[in-house]
Amino acid sequence: MIAGLTYFVTEAWASVWRGRSAAILSVLTIAIAAFVLGLFLLVAGHVQRTVDQWSRSAELSVYLRDESTDGERAAVRNVLRATPSVAAVEFVSKTAALARFRKNFPELAPATDSAADNPLPASFEVRLGSDQSAAAVERLSARVSRMAGVADVRYDRRWLDRLVSLGNFVRWTGLLLAGVLVLAAALTVTNVVRLSLYARRDEIEIMELVGAPLSFIRGPFVCEGMIQGGLGAVVALALLRVALTLSAPRLSALAAGLFEVGRIEFLSGLSVAGLIVGGMAVGCLGGLVASRRIH
């Protein structure tokens, strides 16, 4: 068993080594697929996080009637708190609202000064969670606006819609792209292993004629696929790391405007491990598919 495994690995490694330039090319090709995938994961992750942050800052305002009772207000607050898509609820009293208005619109301060009573209503400012859908927000808004003591419910629907859509869009095309890229990587490996198999069809035929067991013939190819896939992923990650470091100054400037964290982060350890294991799995699969041709 161990002897067999050693044989596979040595054979596969010898094959990769003897066909160096072809192997380098194929590892590079796989690396590029993995690189694009990694880069994509990186970008998608950051865009997703940004959109989430932006969404989180989207707010819903529930304006209360001046004549609403404490009980009515408590009821509204409970409904809001009980809604899963609500992240936080803050009460803004009439006085606080006036103070904020004066701060935001200094030009109008004289106008509000001269008014006898405070015209601004008290409100609940609701921060929405990142996973809300536009429809859910609409339902919540409709429900709350029918409650006793509520004068009006307002939110910037246009912006919210946009952000939710953008989030969905990124997630959706991200999934599609990732799927296609994994397919591409698998195809590349299959292709490479198949062609290396094709280039060695005489050798395989000879092995068969000498009575070598199937596993003796197939093993090295499966192994070769795994080596190439794994190497490709490692090369891709190294390239990505280098690219990120080199473009860090430029990217930081961009990131500052976009992300609250203000800096680009590398893929998580899990993603890194996933890419490497995935590369090897895909390579192994490619080797298997390619060597299925041997009967």
Partner: protein, 256 residues
């Protein structure tokens, strides 16, 4: 063990170190009660896609421990017959028994096991170009699961027999035609087969060397191995003087 130095005199003149030992022959496998006929072919026909018959209704026997030649002009069907015996081709009609086993009844794993008990010299050598001479020969032992040390010892021994141990680390494409042919012969003999099938094994060798190789086959044969050699070389057949089966246009014309 008998001395087999006599047959190597010619080689020693060439300076190769060949006194290593003689072939021991006789199969290590199939130790069950064996029939007296090793090859038993009945009404064998082979037709390649839409073409005419390469073999037509061939019936022949080769007994245990026999040494026979297969002759016939180019395209007579010699290679086809040997390939069917290797189970590289499947007959269109007829029955082929080797050592009592019906070749048609073998499953894929059986075919592998069966081939490992044979020694086959291909007309076009069939050496693996990416492996050295040594690796090409030792491969046949490795798949038998022979212990490592024994593998290496035996491989060197057989390479000595064919006068090529000084080229052990060369790649096939770095060898002359005759040297490649001798590597192919070494590979066929390394696993001490019960049955040796050789397709034109001396076509690229000079007459002296051809005779030496034949002596090697004779030694194997004396040890109990059955040998079937396809060849055009009348001189060689004459020299060795064994039974000859002649094919022409796919039919047996003579079986003396």
């Amino acid at each position: 063990m008998r001395s087999c130095a006599a047959s190597w005199n010619a080689r020693e003149r060439r300076g190769a170190i060949l006194a290593a030992g003689c072939p021991t022959g006789a199969g290590t496998l199939s130790s069950a009660a064996r029939p007296n006929t090793v090859i038993e072919i009945d009404g064998l026909s082979k037709r390649y896609a839409r073409e005419v018959f390469a073999l037509h209704d061939v019936t022949m026997r080769v007994g245990r421990g026999e040494f026979a030649f297969l002759t016939g002009p180019s395209g007579a069907g010699k290679t086809t017959l040997l390939r069917i015996l290797l189970r590289q081709e499947v007959p269109t009609a007829g029955r082929v028994l080797v050592d009592g086993r019906d070749l048609a009844a073998l499953g894929p794993a059986d075919v592998q096991r069966y081939r490992r008990t044979l020694g086959f010299v291909f007309q076009d050598f069939k050496l693996i170009p990416r492996k050295t001479v040594f690796e090409n020969v030792i491969f046949a032992l490795r798949i038998l699961g022979v212990p490592d040390v024994q593998q290496r010892r035996r491989t060197f021994q057989v390479l000595k027999w064919v006068g090529l141990q000084h080229r052990a680390n060369a790649f096939p494409l770095e060898l002359s035609g005759g040297e490649q042919q001798r590597v192919a012969i070494a590979r066929a003999l390394v696993n001490e087969p019960v049955l040796v099938l050789a397709d034109e094994p001396t076509g690229n060798l000079d007459p002296d060397l051809a005779l030496e190789i034949m002596n090697l086959f004779r030694e194997m044969n004396a040890g109990g191995t059955t040998v079937l050699v396809a060849t055009h070389d009348r001189e060689l057949i004459h020299h060795v003087g064994r039974r000859t089966i002649a094919l022409d246009h796919g039919s047996v014309t003579e079986s003396a």
